[in-house]
Symmetry: C2
Subunit: 331 residues, 2 copies
Protein backbone atom coordinates (compact mmCIF):
# COMPACT_ATOMS: atom_id res chain seq x y z
CA UNK A 1 0.00 0.00 0.00
CA UNK A 2 1.22 3.46 -0.80
CA UNK A 3 1.88 5.65 2.22
CA UNK A 4 2.35 2.71 4.57
CA UNK A 5 5.42 1.29 6.25
CA UNK A 6 5.75 -2.43 6.85
CA UNK A 7 8.44 -4.14 8.94
CA UNK A 8 9.75 -7.16 7.05
CA UNK A 9 11.58 -9.21 9.66
CA UNK A 10 12.50 -12.71 8.49
CA UNK A 11 12.43 -15.37 11.17
CA UNK A 12 15.61 -17.28 10.60
CA UNK A 13 15.26 -20.85 9.51
CA UNK A 14 11.52 -20.89 8.87
CA UNK A 15 10.46 -22.10 5.45
CA UNK A 16 7.09 -21.41 3.80
CA UNK A 17 5.93 -24.95 4.59
CA UNK A 18 6.44 -24.24 8.32
CA UNK A 19 3.38 -21.98 8.19
CA UNK A 20 1.18 -24.78 6.84
CA UNK A 21 -2.33 -25.13 8.31
CA UNK A 22 -3.96 -28.49 7.62
CA UNK A 23 -7.39 -28.40 5.98
CA UNK A 24 -10.31 -29.33 8.22
CA UNK A 25 -11.02 -32.87 7.04
CA UNK A 26 -14.17 -33.07 9.19
CA UNK A 27 -16.06 -30.73 6.82
CA UNK A 28 -18.59 -32.69 4.82
CA UNK A 29 -20.13 -31.70 1.50
CA UNK A 30 -23.45 -31.02 3.17
CA UNK A 31 -24.32 -29.93 6.69
CA UNK A 32 -28.00 -30.17 7.62
CA UNK A 33 -27.48 -27.42 10.22
CA UNK A 34 -25.86 -24.96 7.83
CA UNK A 35 -28.20 -22.11 6.80
CA UNK A 36 -26.40 -21.85 3.45
CA UNK A 37 -26.73 -25.53 2.48
CA UNK A 38 -29.39 -26.65 -0.01
CA UNK A 39 -32.62 -27.56 1.74
CA UNK A 40 -32.26 -24.75 4.27
CA UNK A 41 -33.10 -21.88 1.91
CA UNK A 42 -36.00 -20.86 4.16
CA UNK A 43 -33.64 -20.08 7.06
CA UNK A 44 -32.05 -17.15 5.23
CA UNK A 45 -33.86 -13.87 4.58
CA UNK A 46 -35.57 -13.78 1.14
CA UNK A 47 -33.26 -14.05 -1.88
CA UNK A 48 -32.04 -10.89 -3.56
CA UNK A 49 -30.55 -12.70 -6.52
CA UNK A 50 -29.82 -16.22 -7.62
CA UNK A 51 -28.03 -18.09 -10.39
CA UNK A 52 -29.38 -21.46 -11.49
CA UNK A 53 -27.29 -24.27 -12.93
CA UNK A 54 -28.05 -26.46 -15.92
CA UNK A 55 -30.09 -28.85 -13.77
CA UNK A 56 -32.31 -26.02 -12.51
CA UNK A 57 -30.89 -26.05 -8.97
CA UNK A 58 -29.27 -22.88 -7.66
CA UNK A 59 -25.49 -22.60 -7.91
CA UNK A 60 -25.22 -19.14 -6.33
CA UNK A 61 -27.59 -17.25 -4.03
CA UNK A 62 -27.47 -13.66 -2.82
CA UNK A 63 -29.31 -12.96 0.45
CA UNK A 64 -29.35 -10.11 2.97
CA UNK A 65 -26.99 -10.61 5.90
CA UNK A 66 -29.08 -11.74 8.86
CA UNK A 67 -26.76 -9.83 11.24
CA UNK A 68 -25.89 -6.79 9.17
CA UNK A 69 -23.06 -4.44 10.12
CA UNK A 70 -25.23 -1.70 8.65
CA UNK A 71 -28.98 -1.52 8.16
CA UNK A 72 -30.93 -0.34 5.22
CA UNK A 73 -32.42 2.83 6.68
CA UNK A 74 -32.74 6.23 5.03
CA UNK A 75 -29.48 8.13 5.22
CA UNK A 76 -29.33 11.04 7.65
CA UNK A 77 -26.60 13.61 7.91
CA UNK A 78 -24.01 13.11 10.67
CA UNK A 79 -24.92 14.68 14.04
CA UNK A 80 -22.54 16.09 16.64
CA UNK A 81 -22.31 14.13 19.90
CA UNK A 82 -20.78 15.65 23.04
CA UNK A 83 -19.62 18.43 20.72
CA UNK A 84 -16.62 16.21 19.95
CA UNK A 85 -17.79 13.32 17.82
CA UNK A 86 -19.91 12.83 14.78
CA UNK A 87 -22.51 10.15 14.68
CA UNK A 88 -24.58 8.95 11.76
CA UNK A 89 -27.07 6.15 11.51
CA UNK A 90 -25.76 2.88 10.18
CA UNK A 91 -27.43 3.11 6.80
CA UNK A 92 -26.09 0.62 4.38
CA UNK A 93 -26.59 -2.59 2.49
CA UNK A 94 -25.08 -5.82 3.70
CA UNK A 95 -25.52 -8.78 1.38
CA UNK A 96 -24.12 -12.30 1.41
CA UNK A 97 -23.11 -14.19 -1.74
CA UNK A 98 -23.42 -17.95 -1.16
CA UNK A 99 -20.80 -19.14 -3.63
CA UNK A 100 -21.76 -22.77 -4.05
CA UNK A 101 -24.25 -25.38 -2.81
CA UNK A 102 -21.26 -27.40 -1.56
CA UNK A 103 -20.59 -26.86 2.14
CA UNK A 104 -16.85 -27.53 2.06
CA UNK A 105 -15.89 -26.18 -1.36
CA UNK A 106 -12.88 -23.87 -1.56
CA UNK A 107 -12.36 -21.72 -4.66
CA UNK A 108 -9.99 -24.21 -6.35
CA UNK A 109 -12.58 -26.99 -5.79
CA UNK A 110 -15.09 -25.13 -7.96
CA UNK A 111 -15.12 -25.34 -11.76
CA UNK A 112 -13.55 -22.27 -13.42
CA UNK A 113 -16.95 -21.17 -14.78
CA UNK A 114 -18.37 -21.11 -11.26
CA UNK A 115 -15.61 -18.78 -10.05
CA UNK A 116 -16.31 -16.60 -13.08
CA UNK A 117 -20.01 -16.53 -12.17
CA UNK A 118 -19.13 -15.56 -8.59
CA UNK A 119 -17.20 -12.54 -9.91
CA UNK A 120 -20.07 -11.71 -12.28
CA UNK A 121 -22.47 -11.81 -9.31
CA UNK A 122 -20.19 -9.50 -7.32
CA UNK A 123 -20.14 -7.05 -10.22
CA UNK A 124 -23.91 -7.22 -10.80
CA UNK A 125 -24.66 -6.56 -7.13
CA UNK A 126 -22.04 -3.79 -6.95
CA UNK A 127 -23.69 -2.15 -9.98
CA UNK A 128 -27.17 -2.50 -8.49
CA UNK A 129 -26.16 -1.11 -5.08
CA UNK A 130 -24.15 1.64 -6.78
CA UNK A 131 -27.44 3.01 -8.14
CA UNK A 132 -28.65 3.81 -4.62
CA UNK A 133 -27.99 7.53 -4.01
CA UNK A 134 -27.44 6.86 -0.28
CA UNK A 135 -24.19 4.97 -0.82
CA UNK A 136 -20.70 6.33 -1.36
CA UNK A 137 -18.72 3.11 -1.68
CA UNK A 138 -19.38 -0.57 -2.39
CA UNK A 139 -17.01 -3.09 -0.80
CA UNK A 140 -16.86 -6.73 -1.89
CA UNK A 141 -14.91 -9.04 0.41
CA UNK A 142 -14.62 -12.63 1.56
CA UNK A 143 -13.49 -14.08 4.87
CA UNK A 144 -12.28 -17.66 4.63
CA UNK A 145 -11.65 -19.63 7.82
CA UNK A 146 -12.46 -18.87 11.44
CA UNK A 147 -9.15 -17.11 12.12
CA UNK A 148 -10.01 -14.75 9.26
CA UNK A 149 -13.37 -13.87 10.76
CA UNK A 150 -15.67 -16.28 8.89
CA UNK A 151 -18.49 -17.26 11.25
CA UNK A 152 -19.82 -19.92 8.86
CA UNK A 153 -17.71 -22.53 7.05
CA UNK A 154 -19.95 -22.62 3.96
CA UNK A 155 -18.20 -20.61 1.20
CA UNK A 156 -19.61 -17.10 1.02
CA UNK A 157 -18.62 -13.51 0.33
CA UNK A 158 -20.07 -10.23 1.50
CA UNK A 159 -21.01 -6.98 -0.18
CA UNK A 160 -21.44 -3.79 1.84
CA UNK A 161 -22.64 -0.41 0.61
CA UNK A 162 -21.52 2.37 2.98
CA UNK A 163 -23.06 5.83 3.44
CA UNK A 164 -19.59 7.42 3.53
CA UNK A 165 -16.24 6.85 1.85
CA UNK A 166 -14.36 4.66 4.36
CA UNK A 167 -11.15 6.35 5.51
CA UNK A 168 -8.96 3.60 4.09
CA UNK A 169 -10.59 4.04 0.66
CA UNK A 170 -10.22 7.81 0.97
CA UNK A 171 -6.53 7.39 1.82
CA UNK A 172 -5.92 5.13 -1.19
CA UNK A 173 -7.77 7.56 -3.42
CA UNK A 174 -5.71 10.46 -2.10
CA UNK A 175 -2.33 8.77 -2.55
CA UNK A 176 -3.23 7.39 -6.01
CA UNK A 177 -4.49 10.71 -7.38
CA UNK A 178 -1.43 12.47 -5.93
CA UNK A 179 0.84 10.00 -7.72
CA UNK A 180 -0.95 10.50 -11.04
CA UNK A 181 -0.89 14.27 -10.65
CA UNK A 182 2.86 14.18 -10.09
CA UNK A 183 3.80 11.66 -12.79
CA UNK A 184 0.89 11.63 -15.23
CA UNK A 185 0.62 7.86 -14.82
CA UNK A 186 -1.46 5.33 -12.90
CA UNK A 187 0.57 3.93 -10.02
CA UNK A 188 -0.54 0.32 -10.58
CA UNK A 189 0.05 0.46 -14.37
CA UNK A 190 3.57 1.66 -13.67
CA UNK A 191 4.02 -0.94 -10.94
CA UNK A 192 3.03 -3.78 -13.30
CA UNK A 193 5.59 -2.62 -15.84
CA UNK A 194 8.39 -2.37 -13.33
CA UNK A 195 7.54 -5.51 -11.39
CA UNK A 196 7.28 -7.70 -14.48
CA UNK A 197 10.64 -6.35 -15.70
CA UNK A 198 12.15 -7.07 -12.28
CA UNK A 199 10.40 -10.40 -11.67
CA UNK A 200 11.28 -11.07 -8.02
CA UNK A 201 7.82 -10.47 -6.68
CA UNK A 202 5.83 -11.78 -9.67
CA UNK A 203 3.87 -14.99 -9.09
CA UNK A 204 2.25 -15.19 -12.51
CA UNK A 205 1.95 -12.83 -15.46
CA UNK A 206 -0.23 -13.25 -18.56
CA UNK A 207 -1.46 -10.82 -21.20
CA UNK A 208 -4.57 -10.28 -19.07
CA UNK A 209 -3.30 -10.06 -15.51
CA UNK A 210 -0.35 -10.01 -13.16
CA UNK A 211 -0.31 -11.73 -9.77
CA UNK A 212 2.17 -10.15 -7.36
CA UNK A 213 3.47 -10.39 -3.83
CA UNK A 214 3.20 -6.65 -3.06
CA UNK A 215 6.44 -4.85 -2.21
CA UNK A 216 5.27 -3.73 1.22
CA UNK A 217 3.15 -6.80 2.03
CA UNK A 218 1.44 -6.33 5.40
CA UNK A 219 0.60 -10.02 5.67
CA UNK A 220 2.67 -13.15 5.04
CA UNK A 221 2.02 -14.49 1.52
CA UNK A 222 -0.15 -11.49 0.68
CA UNK A 223 -1.00 -11.58 -3.03
CA UNK A 224 -2.47 -9.02 -5.38
CA UNK A 225 -4.27 -9.86 -8.62
CA UNK A 226 -4.17 -6.95 -11.05
CA UNK A 227 -5.87 -6.81 -14.46
CA UNK A 228 -3.51 -5.47 -17.14
CA UNK A 229 -6.21 -3.22 -18.56
CA UNK A 230 -6.58 -0.07 -16.51
CA UNK A 231 -10.03 0.64 -15.11
CA UNK A 232 -11.01 2.31 -11.84
CA UNK A 233 -14.33 0.55 -11.34
CA UNK A 234 -14.71 -3.17 -10.70
CA UNK A 235 -18.50 -2.95 -11.15
CA UNK A 236 -17.93 -1.89 -14.78
CA UNK A 237 -15.69 -4.88 -15.56
CA UNK A 238 -16.59 -6.91 -18.66
CA UNK A 239 -17.06 -10.67 -18.91
CA UNK A 240 -13.81 -11.51 -20.78
CA UNK A 241 -11.74 -9.62 -18.21
CA UNK A 242 -13.61 -11.27 -15.36
CA UNK A 243 -12.98 -14.68 -16.96
CA UNK A 244 -9.24 -14.00 -16.87
CA UNK A 245 -9.33 -12.66 -13.31
CA UNK A 246 -11.43 -15.63 -12.16
CA UNK A 247 -8.72 -17.90 -13.57
CA UNK A 248 -6.05 -15.89 -11.76
CA UNK A 249 -8.03 -16.04 -8.52
CA UNK A 250 -8.62 -19.77 -8.68
CA UNK A 251 -4.98 -20.46 -9.54
CA UNK A 252 -3.69 -18.15 -6.81
CA UNK A 253 -5.83 -19.67 -4.05
CA UNK A 254 -4.73 -23.06 -5.34
CA UNK A 255 -1.05 -22.04 -5.05
CA UNK A 256 -1.68 -20.77 -1.53
CA UNK A 257 -3.32 -24.10 -0.66
CA UNK A 258 -0.40 -26.05 -2.10
CA UNK A 259 2.14 -24.09 -0.07
CA UNK A 260 0.12 -23.39 3.09
CA UNK A 261 -2.56 -26.08 3.35
CA UNK A 262 -5.83 -24.30 4.01
CA UNK A 263 -4.79 -20.87 5.29
CA UNK A 264 -7.47 -18.53 6.62
CA UNK A 265 -7.59 -15.41 4.44
CA UNK A 266 -9.44 -12.21 3.71
CA UNK A 267 -10.09 -11.30 0.09
CA UNK A 268 -10.87 -7.69 -0.77
CA UNK A 269 -11.90 -6.24 -4.12
CA UNK A 270 -10.22 -2.83 -4.19
CA UNK A 271 -12.19 -0.42 -6.33
CA UNK A 272 -12.97 3.29 -6.62
CA UNK A 273 -15.55 5.12 -4.49
CA UNK A 274 -18.91 5.77 -6.20
CA UNK A 275 -19.41 8.89 -8.35
CA UNK A 276 -21.82 10.21 -5.65
CA UNK A 277 -18.89 10.46 -3.22
CA UNK A 278 -17.38 13.83 -2.47
CA UNK A 279 -13.71 12.80 -2.44
CA UNK A 280 -12.26 16.17 -3.36
CA UNK A 281 -11.03 14.68 -6.66
CA UNK A 282 -12.72 14.96 -10.04
CA UNK A 283 -14.30 11.84 -11.58
CA UNK A 284 -11.65 12.15 -14.34
CA UNK A 285 -8.81 12.18 -11.81
CA UNK A 286 -10.25 9.11 -10.08
CA UNK A 287 -10.76 7.26 -13.36
CA UNK A 288 -7.14 7.95 -14.36
CA UNK A 289 -5.54 7.14 -10.98
CA UNK A 290 -7.36 4.17 -9.52
CA UNK A 291 -7.00 0.66 -10.92
CA UNK A 292 -9.25 -2.03 -9.49
CA UNK A 293 -7.63 -5.23 -8.23
CA UNK A 294 -8.08 -8.06 -5.76
CA UNK A 295 -6.02 -8.45 -2.59
CA UNK A 296 -5.74 -11.82 -0.83
CA UNK A 297 -4.54 -11.47 2.76
CA UNK A 298 -3.61 -14.78 4.44
CA UNK A 299 -3.97 -14.61 8.22
CA UNK A 300 -1.11 -16.73 9.51
CA UNK A 301 -0.24 -14.60 12.51
CA UNK A 302 -2.17 -12.30 14.81
CA UNK A 303 -2.28 -8.57 14.37
CA UNK A 304 -1.21 -7.34 17.81
CA UNK A 305 -0.28 -4.39 20.03
CA UNK A 306 2.54 -3.15 17.81
CA UNK A 307 0.24 -2.94 14.78
CA UNK A 308 -2.57 -1.14 16.65
CA UNK A 309 -0.12 1.28 18.23
CA UNK A 310 1.84 2.13 15.10
CA UNK A 311 -0.18 1.11 12.04
CA UNK A 312 2.97 -0.75 10.92
CA UNK A 313 2.49 -4.45 10.23
CA UNK A 314 5.27 -6.89 11.06
CA UNK A 315 5.69 -9.44 8.29
CA UNK A 316 8.21 -12.24 8.85
CA UNK A 317 8.08 -13.47 5.22
CA UNK A 318 9.76 -11.18 2.65
CA UNK A 319 7.48 -10.86 -0.42
CA UNK A 320 10.30 -12.12 -2.68
CA UNK A 321 10.36 -15.37 -0.70
CA UNK A 322 6.57 -15.68 -0.75
CA UNK A 323 6.52 -15.03 -4.51
CA UNK A 324 9.20 -17.67 -5.16
CA UNK A 325 7.30 -20.31 -3.16
CA UNK A 326 3.95 -19.47 -4.79
CA UNK A 327 5.45 -19.23 -8.30
CA UNK A 328 6.83 -22.75 -8.00
CA UNK A 329 3.67 -24.20 -6.44
CA UNK A 330 1.26 -26.30 -8.47
CA UNK A 331 -2.04 -24.65 -9.35
CA UNK B 1 -9.87 7.66 17.89
CA UNK B 2 -10.24 11.01 16.22
CA UNK B 3 -10.63 10.86 12.45
CA UNK B 4 -11.91 7.29 12.45
CA UNK B 5 -15.34 5.83 11.79
CA UNK B 6 -16.51 2.74 13.65
CA UNK B 7 -19.65 0.72 12.89
CA UNK B 8 -21.41 -0.05 16.19
CA UNK B 9 -23.84 -2.85 15.31
CA UNK B 10 -25.38 -4.50 18.35
CA UNK B 11 -26.11 -8.20 17.97
CA UNK B 12 -29.57 -8.55 19.36
CA UNK B 13 -29.90 -10.56 22.54
CA UNK B 14 -26.21 -11.03 23.31
CA UNK B 15 -25.16 -10.02 26.79
CA UNK B 16 -21.59 -9.21 27.88
CA UNK B 17 -21.28 -12.59 29.60
CA UNK B 18 -21.93 -14.29 26.22
CA UNK B 19 -18.44 -13.20 25.13
CA UNK B 20 -16.79 -14.92 28.09
CA UNK B 21 -13.57 -16.85 27.45
CA UNK B 22 -12.65 -19.27 30.22
CA UNK B 23 -9.14 -18.91 31.70
CA UNK B 24 -6.66 -21.64 30.77
CA UNK B 25 -6.64 -23.70 33.96
CA UNK B 26 -3.78 -25.86 32.67
CA UNK B 27 -1.25 -23.06 33.16
CA UNK B 28 0.97 -23.80 36.14
CA UNK B 29 2.93 -21.30 38.19
CA UNK B 30 6.18 -22.55 36.72
CA UNK B 31 6.98 -24.12 33.37
CA UNK B 32 10.44 -25.68 33.10
CA UNK B 33 10.33 -25.16 29.30
CA UNK B 34 9.45 -21.46 29.47
CA UNK B 35 12.41 -19.19 28.65
CA UNK B 36 10.97 -16.49 30.95
CA UNK B 37 10.59 -18.72 34.03
CA UNK B 38 13.14 -18.55 36.87
CA UNK B 39 15.96 -21.03 36.32
CA UNK B 40 16.00 -20.43 32.56
CA UNK B 41 17.62 -17.00 32.65
CA UNK B 42 20.50 -18.27 30.49
CA UNK B 43 18.12 -19.00 27.57
CA UNK B 44 17.33 -15.31 27.03
CA UNK B 45 19.84 -12.84 25.59
CA UNK B 46 21.79 -10.98 28.32
CA UNK B 47 19.72 -8.79 30.64
CA UNK B 48 19.34 -5.09 29.86
CA UNK B 49 17.74 -4.28 33.18
CA UNK B 50 16.35 -6.07 36.21
CA UNK B 51 14.45 -5.33 39.39
CA UNK B 52 15.13 -7.44 42.45
CA UNK B 53 12.63 -8.21 45.20
CA UNK B 54 13.15 -8.11 48.95
CA UNK B 55 14.48 -11.69 48.94
CA UNK B 56 17.11 -10.85 46.33
CA UNK B 57 15.44 -12.78 43.52
CA UNK B 58 14.41 -10.90 40.40
CA UNK B 59 10.83 -9.72 40.12
CA UNK B 60 11.16 -8.08 36.70
CA UNK B 61 13.69 -8.62 33.92
CA UNK B 62 14.25 -6.67 30.71
CA UNK B 63 15.93 -8.60 27.87
CA UNK B 64 16.37 -8.05 24.13
CA UNK B 65 13.71 -9.77 22.02
CA UNK B 66 15.30 -12.93 20.59
CA UNK B 67 13.27 -12.49 17.37
CA UNK B 68 13.23 -8.72 17.00
CA UNK B 69 10.88 -6.97 14.58
CA UNK B 70 13.69 -4.45 14.15
CA UNK B 71 17.42 -4.80 14.70
CA UNK B 72 19.79 -2.48 16.40
CA UNK B 73 21.81 -1.34 13.37
CA UNK B 74 22.98 2.15 12.53
CA UNK B 75 20.19 4.15 10.94
CA UNK B 76 20.46 4.85 7.22
CA UNK B 77 18.34 7.19 5.21
CA UNK B 78 15.50 5.63 3.19
CA UNK B 79 16.46 4.48 -0.34
CA UNK B 80 14.23 4.40 -3.40
CA UNK B 81 13.36 0.92 -4.69
CA UNK B 82 11.96 0.39 -8.21
CA UNK B 83 11.60 4.18 -8.24
CA UNK B 84 8.26 3.65 -6.47
CA UNK B 85 8.95 2.58 -2.92
CA UNK B 86 11.14 3.67 -0.12
CA UNK B 87 13.11 1.19 1.85
CA UNK B 88 15.10 1.69 5.01
CA UNK B 89 16.94 -0.78 7.14
CA UNK B 90 15.07 -2.10 10.12
CA UNK B 91 17.01 -0.17 12.71
CA UNK B 92 15.35 -0.23 16.06
CA UNK B 93 15.31 -1.56 19.57
CA UNK B 94 13.04 -4.39 20.56
CA UNK B 95 13.04 -5.24 24.24
CA UNK B 96 10.93 -7.60 26.33
CA UNK B 97 9.81 -6.82 29.89
CA UNK B 98 9.26 -10.05 31.83
CA UNK B 99 6.64 -8.82 34.29
CA UNK B 100 6.85 -11.48 36.98
CA UNK B 101 8.63 -14.73 37.84
CA UNK B 102 5.20 -16.40 37.93
CA UNK B 103 4.36 -18.17 34.68
CA UNK B 104 0.57 -17.84 34.88
CA UNK B 105 0.19 -14.45 36.61
CA UNK B 106 -2.22 -11.96 35.09
CA UNK B 107 -2.04 -8.29 36.09
CA UNK B 108 -4.74 -8.60 38.79
CA UNK B 109 -2.84 -11.57 40.29
CA UNK B 110 0.16 -9.36 40.99
CA UNK B 111 0.45 -7.13 44.06
CA UNK B 112 -0.29 -3.45 43.30
CA UNK B 113 3.35 -2.49 43.90
CA UNK B 114 4.46 -4.96 41.25
CA UNK B 115 2.18 -3.39 38.63
CA UNK B 116 3.57 -0.01 39.67
CA UNK B 117 7.11 -1.33 39.19
CA UNK B 118 6.17 -2.67 35.75
CA UNK B 119 5.03 0.83 34.72
CA UNK B 120 8.19 2.32 36.25
CA UNK B 121 10.27 -0.13 34.20
CA UNK B 122 8.39 0.83 31.01
CA UNK B 123 9.08 4.50 31.71
CA UNK B 124 12.76 3.92 32.55
CA UNK B 125 13.34 1.94 29.34
CA UNK B 126 11.37 4.47 27.28
CA UNK B 127 13.57 7.24 28.72
CA UNK B 128 16.77 5.29 28.05
CA UNK B 129 15.80 4.40 24.46
CA UNK B 130 14.56 7.95 23.88
CA UNK B 131 18.17 9.13 24.32
CA UNK B 132 19.24 7.25 21.18
CA UNK B 133 19.36 9.80 18.33
CA UNK B 134 18.37 7.05 15.82
CA UNK B 135 14.85 6.68 17.19
CA UNK B 136 11.78 8.81 16.48
CA UNK B 137 9.20 7.02 18.60
CA UNK B 138 9.09 4.57 21.52
CA UNK B 139 6.15 2.19 21.71
CA UNK B 140 5.30 0.19 24.84
CA UNK B 141 2.74 -2.57 24.37
CA UNK B 142 1.61 -5.90 25.72
CA UNK B 143 -0.08 -8.83 23.98
CA UNK B 144 -1.99 -11.09 26.34
CA UNK B 145 -3.27 -14.43 25.07
CA UNK B 146 -2.60 -16.33 21.85
CA UNK B 147 -5.51 -14.73 19.96
CA UNK B 148 -3.95 -11.36 20.77
CA UNK B 149 -0.60 -12.38 19.30
CA UNK B 150 1.28 -13.46 22.44
CA UNK B 151 3.62 -16.29 21.42
CA UNK B 152 4.54 -17.06 25.04
CA UNK B 153 2.08 -17.41 27.92
CA UNK B 154 4.49 -16.02 30.55
CA UNK B 155 3.42 -12.41 31.28
CA UNK B 156 5.55 -9.97 29.32
CA UNK B 157 5.40 -6.65 27.52
CA UNK B 158 7.42 -5.24 24.65
CA UNK B 159 9.16 -1.96 23.97
CA UNK B 160 10.10 -0.94 20.45
CA UNK B 161 12.08 2.10 19.36
CA UNK B 162 11.39 2.93 15.70
CA UNK B 163 13.60 4.91 13.28
CA UNK B 164 10.54 6.77 11.95
CA UNK B 165 7.28 8.12 13.34
CA UNK B 166 4.79 5.31 12.66
CA UNK B 167 1.94 6.56 10.46
CA UNK B 168 -0.69 5.85 13.12
CA UNK B 169 1.28 7.99 15.60
CA UNK B 170 1.68 10.70 12.95
CA UNK B 171 -2.06 10.65 12.30
CA UNK B 172 -2.90 10.97 16.00
CA UNK B 173 -0.40 13.80 16.33
CA UNK B 174 -1.89 15.59 13.32
CA UNK B 175 -5.50 15.33 14.49
CA UNK B 176 -4.65 16.26 18.09
CA UNK B 177 -2.62 19.34 17.16
CA UNK B 178 -5.33 20.42 14.70
CA UNK B 179 -7.93 20.18 17.48
CA UNK B 180 -5.81 22.25 19.85
CA UNK B 181 -5.08 24.84 17.18
CA UNK B 182 -8.81 25.22 16.52
CA UNK B 183 -10.05 25.23 20.12
CA UNK B 184 -7.04 26.13 22.26
CA UNK B 185 -7.62 22.99 24.32
CA UNK B 186 -6.27 19.44 24.58
CA UNK B 187 -8.78 17.02 23.10
CA UNK B 188 -8.42 14.44 25.88
CA UNK B 189 -8.65 17.06 28.68
CA UNK B 190 -11.90 18.26 27.12
CA UNK B 191 -13.10 14.69 26.61
CA UNK B 192 -12.55 13.84 30.30
CA UNK B 193 -14.59 16.86 31.34
CA UNK B 194 -17.47 16.06 29.05
CA UNK B 195 -17.46 12.31 29.57
CA UNK B 196 -17.42 12.56 33.36
CA UNK B 197 -20.31 15.06 33.20
CA UNK B 198 -22.20 12.69 30.87
CA UNK B 199 -21.26 9.45 32.66
CA UNK B 200 -22.52 6.84 30.19
CA UNK B 201 -19.12 5.69 29.02
CA UNK B 202 -17.24 6.19 32.30
CA UNK B 203 -16.07 3.01 34.02
CA UNK B 204 -14.27 4.66 36.91
CA UNK B 205 -13.24 8.21 37.75
CA UNK B 206 -10.96 9.37 40.56
CA UNK B 207 -9.04 12.59 41.18
CA UNK B 208 -6.07 10.98 39.45
CA UNK B 209 -7.54 9.17 36.45
CA UNK B 210 -10.58 8.37 34.36
CA UNK B 211 -11.26 4.96 32.81
CA UNK B 212 -13.53 5.16 29.77
CA UNK B 213 -15.11 3.03 27.09
CA UNK B 214 -14.12 5.29 24.16
CA UNK B 215 -16.96 6.79 22.12
CA UNK B 216 -15.86 5.20 18.85
CA UNK B 217 -14.51 1.95 20.33
CA UNK B 218 -13.00 -0.19 17.56
CA UNK B 219 -13.00 -3.29 19.75
CA UNK B 220 -15.64 -4.78 22.03
CA UNK B 221 -15.00 -3.71 25.66
CA UNK B 222 -12.18 -1.41 24.58
CA UNK B 223 -11.08 0.66 27.56
CA UNK B 224 -8.91 3.75 27.88
CA UNK B 225 -7.09 4.79 31.05
CA UNK B 226 -6.38 8.52 31.08
CA UNK B 227 -4.42 10.39 33.76
CA UNK B 228 -6.23 13.59 34.82
CA UNK B 229 -3.00 15.58 34.70
CA UNK B 230 -2.13 16.57 31.17
CA UNK B 231 1.29 15.48 29.90
CA UNK B 232 2.31 14.45 26.40
CA UNK B 233 5.14 12.11 27.37
CA UNK B 234 4.67 8.85 29.24
CA UNK B 235 8.44 8.50 29.73
CA UNK B 236 8.40 11.69 31.83
CA UNK B 237 5.64 10.41 34.15
CA UNK B 238 6.34 10.66 37.89
CA UNK B 239 6.02 7.91 40.51
CA UNK B 240 2.83 9.17 42.22
CA UNK B 241 1.00 9.41 38.89
CA UNK B 242 2.24 5.96 37.87
CA UNK B 243 1.03 4.55 41.20
CA UNK B 244 -2.47 5.82 40.43
CA UNK B 245 -2.38 4.56 36.83
CA UNK B 246 -1.07 1.16 37.97
CA UNK B 247 -4.08 0.95 40.27
CA UNK B 248 -6.40 1.87 37.39
CA UNK B 249 -4.75 -0.70 35.16
CA UNK B 250 -4.96 -3.51 37.69
CA UNK B 251 -8.58 -2.71 38.51
CA UNK B 252 -9.56 -2.41 34.84
CA UNK B 253 -8.01 -5.75 33.82
CA UNK B 254 -9.70 -7.24 36.88
CA UNK B 255 -13.09 -5.86 35.72
CA UNK B 256 -12.49 -7.27 32.24
CA UNK B 257 -11.67 -10.65 33.81
CA UNK B 258 -14.81 -10.58 35.92
CA UNK B 259 -17.02 -9.86 32.92
CA UNK B 260 -15.16 -11.74 30.19
CA UNK B 261 -13.16 -14.50 31.91
CA UNK B 262 -9.63 -14.28 30.52
CA UNK B 263 -10.02 -12.31 27.28
CA UNK B 264 -7.03 -11.97 24.97
CA UNK B 265 -6.07 -8.29 24.72
CA UNK B 266 -3.54 -5.84 23.39
CA UNK B 267 -2.42 -3.03 25.66
CA UNK B 268 -0.82 0.06 24.11
CA UNK B 269 0.77 3.03 25.87
CA UNK B 270 -0.15 5.96 23.64
CA UNK B 271 2.45 8.70 23.92
CA UNK B 272 4.01 11.50 21.87
CA UNK B 273 6.76 10.98 19.27
CA UNK B 274 10.30 11.81 20.43
CA UNK B 275 11.61 15.37 20.16
CA UNK B 276 14.03 14.17 17.43
CA UNK B 277 11.03 13.44 15.15
CA UNK B 278 10.23 15.82 12.35
CA UNK B 279 6.43 15.81 12.70
CA UNK B 280 5.79 19.23 11.18
CA UNK B 281 4.56 20.46 14.58
CA UNK B 282 6.54 22.44 17.16
CA UNK B 283 7.54 20.72 20.43
CA UNK B 284 5.26 23.25 22.16
CA UNK B 285 2.28 22.29 19.99
CA UNK B 286 2.90 18.60 20.68
CA UNK B 287 3.25 19.18 24.42
CA UNK B 288 -0.04 21.10 24.50
CA UNK B 289 -2.04 18.71 22.28
CA UNK B 290 -1.03 15.17 23.16
CA UNK B 291 -2.01 13.51 26.42
CA UNK B 292 -0.52 10.12 27.18
CA UNK B 293 -2.86 7.29 28.09
CA UNK B 294 -3.22 3.51 27.99
CA UNK B 295 -5.56 1.67 25.63
CA UNK B 296 -6.69 -1.89 26.37
CA UNK B 297 -8.07 -3.63 23.29
CA UNK B 298 -9.80 -6.96 24.01
CA UNK B 299 -9.71 -9.31 21.02
CA UNK B 300 -13.05 -11.09 21.14
CA UNK B 301 -13.70 -11.20 17.41
CA UNK B 302 -11.50 -11.34 14.34
CA UNK B 303 -10.55 -8.30 12.32
CA UNK B 304 -11.59 -9.32 8.79
CA UNK B 305 -12.05 -8.30 5.15
CA UNK B 306 -14.36 -5.39 5.87
CA UNK B 307 -11.86 -3.80 8.27
CA UNK B 308 -8.87 -4.25 5.91
CA UNK B 309 -10.85 -2.90 2.98
CA UNK B 310 -12.33 0.12 4.71
CA UNK B 311 -10.36 0.86 7.87
CA UNK B 312 -13.74 0.83 9.66
CA UNK B 313 -14.01 -1.60 12.56
CA UNK B 314 -17.31 -3.35 13.24
CA UNK B 315 -18.04 -3.43 16.96
CA UNK B 316 -21.12 -5.33 18.10
CA UNK B 317 -20.98 -3.98 21.70
CA UNK B 318 -21.93 -0.30 22.12
CA UNK B 319 -19.40 1.41 24.45
CA UNK B 320 -22.23 2.48 26.80
CA UNK B 321 -23.14 -1.17 27.31
CA UNK B 322 -19.51 -2.19 27.82
CA UNK B 323 -19.02 0.64 30.33
CA UNK B 324 -22.14 -0.34 32.28
CA UNK B 325 -21.01 -3.98 32.54
CA UNK B 326 -17.44 -3.05 33.54
CA UNK B 327 -18.57 -0.34 35.98
CA UNK B 328 -20.68 -2.86 37.87
CA UNK B 329 -18.03 -5.60 37.81
CA UNK B 330 -15.99 -6.41 40.89
CA UNK B 331 -12.35 -5.32 40.78
Amino acid sequence: MIGHWVAISPERGRRPSDYRIEPDASLSKHDPNCPFCPGNEATTPPEIDRVDGAAGDWVIRVVPNKFPALNHEPRREPQRVLGLFERMNGTGAHEVVIESPLHAATLPDLPPEQVETILATYAARARALGQNPDYRHILVFKNHGKAAGASLAHPHSQIIGTPLVPHEVARRTRTATAYTEETGRCFLCELLERETRHGDRVIEATDDYVVLAPYASRFQFETRIVPRTHHHDFAASKAPQRRAIARALRRTVSRLANVLGDPPYNLVVQTAPLPTADTGHSPQAIARSLHWHIDILPRLSQVAGFEWGTGIHINPTPPEEAAAALREAAC
